[in-house]
Amino acid sequence: SQQGEEDPQALSIQEGENATMNCSYKTSINNLQWYRQNSGRGLVHLILIRSNEREKHSGRLRVTLDTSKKSSSLLITASRAADTASYFCARRNTGFQKLVFGTGTRLLVSP
């Protein structure tokens, strides 16, 4: 399958804790993107990291990319109940144009 694999499939934490989600893939990439999806809604782009970058920050989000291990992680610091959603990584493969979405991590943040 071309899909990336994300783990964990589901994550349950308390408000204020950090949440880490991981994404692995098999082919060379041009860039990797993270999206959030609230229940029953469309996806919202969070952050993009290029293949020549190792780390990016956006507010409480931190994304790392290790191209040698073909993996990426998304860290949400000081989580809030409003962060409850599914999080998908999506990669743009080298030489291909479409985004390939991973299987997603369902995050539940309890007050």
């Binding site: 809604r41 469309g42 996806l43 998908f88 743009r92 144009q97 479409k98 979405f101 991973g102």
Partner: protein, 114 residues
């Protein structure tokens, strides 16, 4: 301000009865995509348009068709819906179809097939 609009948000149809889902955008983006997402699964690309150029994914069933009459609108036609076609259908847009472009998604249409 809505940027990618999908109508209806919920659609119920009967087995075998054709259905059309619509998507419009105010972003003036060149590319429009249709994804199918089943429960707890990744969005699966069905096809996309780059301007008027139609690009079908190899594994998209013939039952699914699409039309893009102008830059702003794109339609998904399901000619004979089966029970397995019940899903969330997501429309997305992007300026171009490669590089570092990101996609903007609509809220989705949830299709129920009875």
């Amino acid at each position: 301000d809505a940027m990618v609009i999908q109508n209806p948000r919920y659609q119920v149809t009967q087995f075998g009865k054709p259905v059309t889902l619509s998507c419009s955008q105010t972003l003036n983006h060149n590319v429009m995509y249709w994804y199918q997402q089943k429960s707890s699964q990744a969005p699966k690309l069905l096809f996309h348009y780059y301007d008027k150029d139609f690009n079908n994914e190899a594994d998209t069933p013939d039952n699914f068709q699409s039309r893009r009459p102008n830059t702003s609108f794109c339609f998904l036609d399901i000619r004979s819906p089966g029970l397995g076609d019940a899903a969330m259908y997501l429309c997305a847009t992007s300026r171009s179809s490669g590089g570092t472009d990101t996609q903007y998604f609509g809220p989705g249409t949830r299709l129920t097939v009875l």
